[in-house]
Amino acid sequence: MGEQLPALQVVVPLIGALLVALVRRPTAAWLVTVVVSLAMPVISALLLVRVLNQGVISYHLGGWDPTIGIEYRVDIVNALILLLVSAVAAVIAPFARLSVLSEIAEGRIGWFYAMYLVSLAGLLGIAITGDAFNAFVFLEISSLSSYVLIAMGRDRRALVAAYQYLIMGTIGASFYVIGVGLLYIMTGTLNLNLIAERIVAVESFRPVLAALAFITVGISLKLALFPLHVWLPNAYAYAPSVVTTFLAATATKVAIYLFARFVFSVFGAGFVFADLPVTPILVALSVAAIFGAGTVAVFQSDVKRMFAYSSVGQVGYITLGLALATTTGVTGGLVHLLNHAMIKATIFMGLGAVFFRVGRIEFQDIAGIGRRMPITMGAVAIAGLSLIGVPGTAGFVSKWYLVVASLEVGWWWLAFLIVLSTMITVVYVGRLIEWAWFREPSRQVATVEEAPIEMLAPICLLAAATIYFGIDTYLTAGLAERAANALLSGLR
């Protein structure tokens, strides 16, 4: 059975989604979702252990040879991403029941869970596949289901947000597939590994450069790299709480993985970063994202929207680390990818719990909420501190790597910008803490109670994780460093 793990990782949520679509009773649908979601981290943890023990796992779908068939290929990089996505899914599933019951019309709950599982299967598929076109299909599977999920959001603005995301996402995916097509024309294969082998001979040809450009822009749309991020804030802000949490923690992260996979493993770090001026461009965009999106976040009146903008900024840190293309830098980027997923999942789940109790999520409406829901908001505050990068939390570890990485390449100004940008985070996290604790409770808030235990438990678990991974970094920084080395060494 161990050999079948890669297929199980994708097939189980897919079959789960089909079962949910057949049954569609809210409770049954939720139960299936929980069972599937809890099975996911088990599978990905087993995969990770196998990768650590035996090296790269190659799985031939349908028994076809990789030259013509689809290959699932798991190395330490995507094993880590798989574990991240499935762990987040497992934590969200128990939380989802009450949140979904309160936010989604009853007739749609079944479809909601079906779409949720399809989206999960799609994201896991992107991460696990070793085939460029298969990645496109999974990309669209996850995107299409997330458009639907976002459209189920709290008011009509969710529809417009989903529509905008659909337009941008489809353009991004089409750009990606154009790039893949050009690569296919030049190399005659769609297998990422084989492309990487054959591209060396043709990398000076113009279609390869065009392919790099198309793929980079296409994926950048999906990962919301500044200035291609405009779809993200509204989509996150108006989507149902569960969806926001899930997408914020996983969707952009998987897109970043795909980006890293293409840039480092397929095109090769030497080609992209040494021969082409990608580093300065990407660093400039990342810094612009960090400062631009961070500043916009400060002025939001909607808490979810504020943290959505913050996500755009935080993606900047990840791409910044990748752009440096050194071991420390890529490690920093990957660590921040993992940490930011945890942090944002905690924050959006906490806000989901607040929304569940209060029914609104603007600053004025949740004034004083920290006094009524101390545990929920305490967890959000801890995650916020981690977002700032206070030492002892996960966020510090990633920021430390990034600062050291920029000092190592002699870019002290970049280190300075990184620490300076932290102040923006302090401002908007501080603003939430101030509203939550140091204002008199508003009328809506005065009567609410602490969130129910089945919501609190996942929130507290993740908040504890953001502290735990600030102290014990084997699973994050330790593995991320190995992953960074694997990425930088090119072919897997």
Binding site: L385, P391, V397, W400, L407, E408, M423, E434
Partner: protein, 499 residues
């Protein structure tokens, strides 16, 4: 019990108090009992550590390596021991005082107050006992964050603004300046562990030493060296116990402690003295001392006047450190202790006046001393100590710094100390005079504050005098510190500083 266990306990006890308190939120008496038991236990633990340090031991405890190069480790040296002893000892007095003050004030959200307080003390212990720069930084930030809710505690517009300034200035300086300084140190020296004689000697150029020193000094905004001082007067909106223990002892002392420790154990006194690129610090500190004193003269609000006085006194310590001689380091360390007991007395008295006479401004204090003799008597003792008049402990630190300054012919420092002493007298003595010599306007309701408020302030006032007569413990610790920074030891820094 091994010394490692004791170090762990010194952190665990206040943390445990913080964890237990919310469980007794509904029962104030139990809650306060938990706090008091915690304070006494902590002090006992610190005292037993003190005994082993005085016996010449240097206990240490390696906890965990976060990422290669960043580890959480504790190692006790004399300066840290001195700081830990002061902070934990005064926590007892301050807890008694808090109970009286907060109940008299009928303050809201007392549980949150005590929880944050306990976390702040735990962080202070972490700073004092830290064995490397990362551990120090970790607890330094934790201290900032745990005291932010205390500053904003009242929840008024003014308190929120003060909280914002507090958070932005302290967190901002430490992340923008201190963190890069630490990263730079780590890359240059290959280690972040504190080493006797410094770890940077011979590793970086003189100019770099000067830049790094600036990053450290201004990154440690808690030391309130100008121009990063304005958070401290603003933080006075906090309840008085917070101002007393945290903004006269724990937080601000954590700042100067960090600067002193970095100068002694990261740069090395000798290295800096030879490099000559750190001399600017003397002038910055000197100017801060004088300017803050002048500003204190102009404050009418008693707590704000005390805050400016604190800024000035903190820079005394920095000034002492910036002389880069062992004798001045001794004086600086002693002044940390002296200022702690004296200033907490003054703040206690200010709070007592607030509770007993409902007066916050100096101009309204006429005759208060006659109605509140214990309070204002203690205030007088504290004032004398701040000015540096024997028989109070404030004299000792100034004396040694003055000796050191004269010894190396640093007449600027001598001038600063003399002028500021006059200024100190200028802003403290009128208060005492008003309180005792002028007659009040006979307002009713002015009476001595409740006993939990009065007893601690009298106790710290007595301590101010006792430490002058019997300064053995702080003196020995300061002497040990000065000994480690003396020239002969520095020669083996090249080997001693590495791991």
């Amino acid at each position: 019990m091994t010394s490692g266990t004791l170090i762990a306990l010194a952190l665990i006890i206040p943390t445990a108090v913080a964890v237990l308190l919310p469980l007794f939120a509904g029962r104030p008496n139990v809650r306060e009992a938990v706090t008091l038991i915690g304070t006494v236990l902590l002090f006992a633990v610190v005292l037993s550590l003190l005994a082993s340090v005085l016996a010449g031991e240097r206990p240490s405890l390696a906890v965990w390596t976060v990422v290669p190069g960043l580890s959480i480790a504790f190692a006790i040296e004399p300066l840290g021991m001195l700081f830990a002893t002061i902070a934990s000892g005064l926590w007892i007095a301050n807890s008694v005082y808090s109970i009286g003050y907060m109940r008299a004030e009928q303050a809201p959200r007392q549980t949150l107050f005590y929880v944050c307080f306990a976390i702040a003390i735990a962080s202070t212990m972490g700073i004092a006992l830290a064995g490397n720069l990362f551990t120090l930084f970790l607890f330094y930030e934790l201290l900032t964050i745990s005291t932010y809710p205390l500053v904003t505690h009242r929840g008024t517009e003014e308190a929120r603004n003060a909280g914002r300034l507090y958070l932005l200035m302290l967190l901002g300086a430490s992340t923008i300046l201190l963190l890069p300084a630490i990263a730079w140190t780590g890359i240059a020296a290959g280690t972040l562990d504190f080493g006797v004689g410094g770890i940077l000697g011979g590793r970086v150029s003189d100019a770099t030493l000067g830049i790094l020193l600036a990053l450290y000094v201004f990154g440690t905004a808690k030391a309130a060296v100008m121009p990063l001082h304005s958070w401290l007067p603003a933080a006075m909106v906090a309840p008085t116990p917070v101002s007393a223990l945290l903004h006269a002892v724990a937080v601000v002392k954590a700042g100067v402690f960090t600067i002193l420790k970095v100068i002694v154990y990261v740069f090395g006194v000798d290295t800096l003295a030879k490099a000559g690129t750190g001399d600017w610090l003397l002038y910055v500190a000197g100017i801060t001392v004088i300017v803050a004193s002048v500003m204190a003269l102009r404050q009418d609000n008693l707590k704000r006047r005390l805050a400016y006085s604190t800024i000035s006194q903190l820079s005394y310590v920095v000034l002492g450190a910036a002389l880069f001689t062992p004798l001045a380091i001794l004086g600086a360390a002693l002044h940390i202790a002296a200022h702690a007991v004296s200033k907490i007395t003054l703040f206690f008295a200010a709070g007592s006046v607030h509770v007993g006479a409902h007066v916050d401004d100096v101009s309204e204090m006429n005759g208060v001393g006659r109605r509140m003799p214990w309070t204002m008597g203690a205030f007088a003792v504290g004032s004398l100590s701040m000015i540096g008049v024997p028989p109070t402990v404030g004299f000792l630190g100034k004396w040694f710094m003055l000796l050191a300054a004269v010894g190396i012919g640093q007449w600027f420092a001598v001038g600063v100390i003399v002028i500021s002493t006059l200024l100190n007298a200028g802003y403290f003595l009128p208060i005492v005079y008003r309180a005792f010599r002028r007659t009040g306007d006979g307002r009713p309701g002015v009476a001595e504050a409740p006993w939990p408020v009065v007893v601690p302030l009298v106790a710290t006032a007595i301590l101010t005098i006792v430490l002058f007569v019997w300064p053995t413990i702080p003196y020995d610790l300061a002497d040990m510190l000065a000994g480690t920074s003396a020239a002969p030891v520095a020669s083996d820094a090249a080997t001693g500083g590495r791991q």
